[in-house]
């Protein structure tokens, strides 16, 4: 009996170590979120949904503002403003003063898909990784992997040819996709269809989410400068957003007042390229990041004067 238990324990320990070693191979190819839970707690953050995750490139801000900033934006399902995202931001933030925070906003991020748009218990993000993962700065992050990757561990080894790569700074780069006009047109039309027929009918403005947007800005403001940005999108998606929330700027005016500045880039929608209408193509993302960085520099200059 002793022999049996001893041998079984030894094999189990070896197997466990082998599993841990295999899991530590997880990287930016594994999934679009994992790396964000492996970097240290941050002083400066980019907040928002997938538009910010794919559009805003921290290395540009680093070059122009000379500050490290981490992209902690997820998706419209994971990180609309709410308790879950608010708590996760607090966990990821290192509580040091002098931070820089870019908070991206759009009508979807202050809306809900559930019957009662203000019922926190029904929010879709409750079941997702931001709520499940309380340790956000461990590398490798076994907590994230065990809670969020079951059934997909093989992605660690076989997802290498994915066309998404999550950089250490949190930027989700989409590359190696066809960008000819016909393909882009098809993807845009597909995305517009999804937003118009899939999302728009079930989306309702949520005052609770708006409150959490204000709460998030208030919290971040304690530790540095907060800039609110509305990123550009394809004109066809813009039309849907206007239908959803025609007076968006007015709706979030109190949140804007809490911040150090608001930049609405949607009037320049036509100046950029999008992979699918909703997300900036990397080259356009670079331009947009530069514009935002320069805008922040301008505000900083004014404030210094």
């Amino acid at each position: 009996m002793k022999r049996f238990i001893l041998q079984l324990s030894i094999i189990s320990i070896f197997a466990l170590v082998a599993i841990m070693l295999s899991l530590s191979g997880a990287n930016g190819w594994t999934d679009p979120f994992y790396i964000r839970f492996t970097t240290p707690k941050q002083q400066s953050l980019i907040i928002g949904t997938s538009r910010a995750a794919q559009g805003l490139q921290p290395q540009i801000f680093q070059q122009l503002l000379n500050r490290d900033i981490n992209n902690f934006a997820f998706t419209i399902a994971h990180s609309p403003f709410g308790k879950v995202y608010y708590e996760s931001i607090k966990r990821k933030h290192n509580k040091k003063d002098g931070g820089l925070f870019i908070v991206t906003v759009d009508p979807w991020s202050i809306s809900s898909w559930c019957e009662s748009p203000n019922d926190l218990g029904q929010f879709r993000e409750n079941q997702l990784c931001l709520n499940k993962t309380h340790v956000v700065d461990s590398n490798p992050n076994f907590f994230y992997l065990f809670d969020n990757l079951p059934g997909k561990y093989s992605n660690i080894f076989i997802n290498i040819k994915s066309n998404m790569y999550l950089h250490k700074d949190g930027w989700l780069e989409v590359y190696n996709i066809k960008m000819d006009s016909a393909t882009v047109k098809r993807r845009v039309s597909q995305k517009v269809k999804t937003y118009r027929n899939g999302y728009l009918p079930k989306t309702k403005f949520s005052s609770v989410r708006l409150e959490y947007l204000k709460k998030t800005i208030t919290y971040l403001k304690e530790y540095g400068s907060v800039y609110v940005v509305r990123l550009p999108i394809h004109k066809n998606i813009m039309e849907i957003e206007k239908e959803l929330m025609p007076d968006f700027d007015l709706t979030i005016s109190e949140a804007i007042d809490l911040s150090d500045g608001y930049l609405d880039m949607t009037p320049q929608n036509d100046l950029y390229n999008y992979t699918d209408g909703n997300h900036l193509y990397s080259q356009s993302g670079e331009k947009v990041s530069m514009i935002i960085a320069n805008w922040i520099l301008e505000i900083d200059k004014h404030q210094t004067k």
Binding site: F4, Q7, I11, F14, A15, I19, G151, S154, F157
Partner: protein, 482 residues
């Protein structure tokens, strides 16, 4: 509690330690622990249905005792029927009530009379078909005087509720399992090691093969109307390996777990997809159910004693009943009937007892003839599984008609191609290992016996890593619903 869950991974070592270190001096205490652990195991799903197992246990225990004392044949028959009616009554109510109601209603509508029916929102207790058949085997064997009724209620309760095989078999015979609860069990190192190895292989079958195949089988069967014939063939193949990995994986874990506690359960699968004809397939697939039907239905009906016609009739009866046992749906009945039809030529030509040995015994590769026979039998089985998996008969016929169309020659429309390819590669490796180990109790029973210890251990570690890394999304065991 699922075998492939963290809950079970915690539960099993606790019960194992209590069993061998705390209660090992006293047989009654060990049996008591098994009963408590088994009720806990079952109650993890829904404790409310525990009362049914307890009720069934009390009825069959009491009927058994009375059958042992009763000399009057008529009274004995009455007692037997009480047990049968109670057990099958539960099964019939929970599993078939709505089915019969809907079909009666449909039949009346067909003849122009509309009747109002009130179908019930019934939850099917997990594993009811399994433990019902197991307890029935006890009463019938006592009635036939093949078995002395037990006077040990604890041992009988443990026999009915024994957790490794309570919810999905193997369906044990009282003559085989019950005496093991009366004997003192001693820890057997090689048996326990063998048990662990079988559990590991069962987990591989379930978690890696079945759950990964399930993802694609579900995707294809649920969207079959939009897919071409070649994709539907792939869907049927994925389901073929899903159901085998799922059910034989469960049986392996059940048998392996029992061995840890010093019990031997009957074999339930014997490499069925290497069968050369359908009769051989049924001697190798879900053996505990096939032999149950043979012993308690086919033989009492006259078996093969009354000539060819009787044999054909009885074969159809057991296959249709077996299909119906799987679920209250016409798809299962057609699946059973289809298998009976497959059987027909073998009965008529008296060839149903060929191929008793495993194929290509002692050889690495099969002969051309064996290979063709295996492929043909496998094809028939895959075709029949379409009915088994389909939502209803219309779904099955549409599925088959699309396969028969010209779209069979189009390129399969599979999303997540990389993941599908990995699943196909894993399944191919699995088939090769099964082939190499086909003369063993389970495929890896003797694998690595001649290797150095560190190599063998490395293999087990590797298998554990593969199980973890290539785990599909956790799915319930298919046979729980039966």
């Amino acid at each position: 509690m699922l075998f492939n869950s963290i809950d079970f991974a915690i539960f099993l070592p606790i019960v194992f330690i209590l069993y061998w270190f705390v209660t090992d001096k006293n047989l009654k205490l060990q049996n008591f622990l098994i009963v408590v652990a088994s009720y806990f195991f079952y109650g993890w799903w829904d404790w409310k249905f525990l009362s049914m197992i307890l009720f069934s246990t009390i009825i069959d225990y009491s009927v058994g005792l009375k059958l042992g004392n009763e000399k009057d044949q008529t009274k004995r028959k009455v007692l037997l029927w009480i047990s049968i009616l109670v057990n099958l009554g539960f099964l019939g109510f929970f599993k078939y009530y709505n089915f019969f109601l809907e079909n009666f209603s449909a039949a009346f509508s067909f003849f122009g009379t509309e009747i109002q029916t009130n179908s019930l929102n019934i939850i099917l207790p997990v594993g009811i078909s399994f433990y019902t058949f197991q307890t029935l085997s006890y009463t019938i064997d006592v009635y036939k005087r093949k078995l002395e009724p037990t006077k040990d209620f604890l041992a009988f309760s443990a026999f009915v509720s024994f957790f490794p095989q309570l919810v999905a078999g193997p369906i044990e015979r009282a003559t085989h399992l019950l005496p093991q609860f009366h004997r003192k069990r001693t820890f057997d190192y090689s048996k326990a090691v063998d048990g662990i190895r079988q559990i590991l292989w069962g987990l591989f079958k379930k978690i890696v093969i079945a759950d990964n195949c399930a993802k694609f089988a579900n995707l294809i069967f649920n969207n079959s109307g939009d897919l071409n014939g070649s994709t539907l063939v792939l869907g049927a193949l994925f389901f073929t390996f899903q159901i085998y990995g799922d059910f034989s994986g469960y049986s392996d874990i059940a048998i392996g777990t029992s061995r840890l506690f010093g019990f031997d359960l009957m074999r339930n699968f014997n490499f069925p997809y290497f069968s050369r004809d359908i009769a051989e397939f049924w001697r190798r697939w879900h053996i505990s159910l096939s032999t149950w039907f043979r012993d308690y239905l086919y033989i009492p009906l006259g078996g093969s004693r009354g000539g060819t016609w009787m044999k054909v009739r009885n074969t159809f009866i057991i296959f249709i009943v077996s299909g119906f046992w799987h679920g209250a749906n016409w798809t299962f009945i057609v699946w059973g009937a289809l298998n009976a039809i497959y059987f027909l030529p073998l009965i008529l030509t008296n060839n149903n007892r060929n191929n008793l040995e495993i194929v290509a015994k002692g050889k690495l590769l099969p002969s051309h003839r064996d290979l063709l026979s295996m492929l043909f039998t496998f094809g028939l089985t895959v075709f029949a599984w379409i009915f088994f998996r389909a939502e209803n008969l219309g779904h099955a016929f549409n599925y088959i008609s699309e396969i028969m169309s010209i779209s069979l020659f189009e390129i399969p429309m599979i999303t997540e191609r990389r993941s599908a390819l990995v699943t196909i590669i894993l399944t191919s490796v699995f088939v090769i290992i099964e082939w190499l180990g086909r003369d063993q109790q389970f495929a890896i029973a003797k694998l690595g016996f001649t290797w150095e210890k560190y190599l063998r251990w490395s293999f087990y570690c590797l298998l554990a890593v593969v199980i973890f890394l290539f785990s599909g999304n956790q799915q319930d065991f298919i046979y729980f619903q039966f």
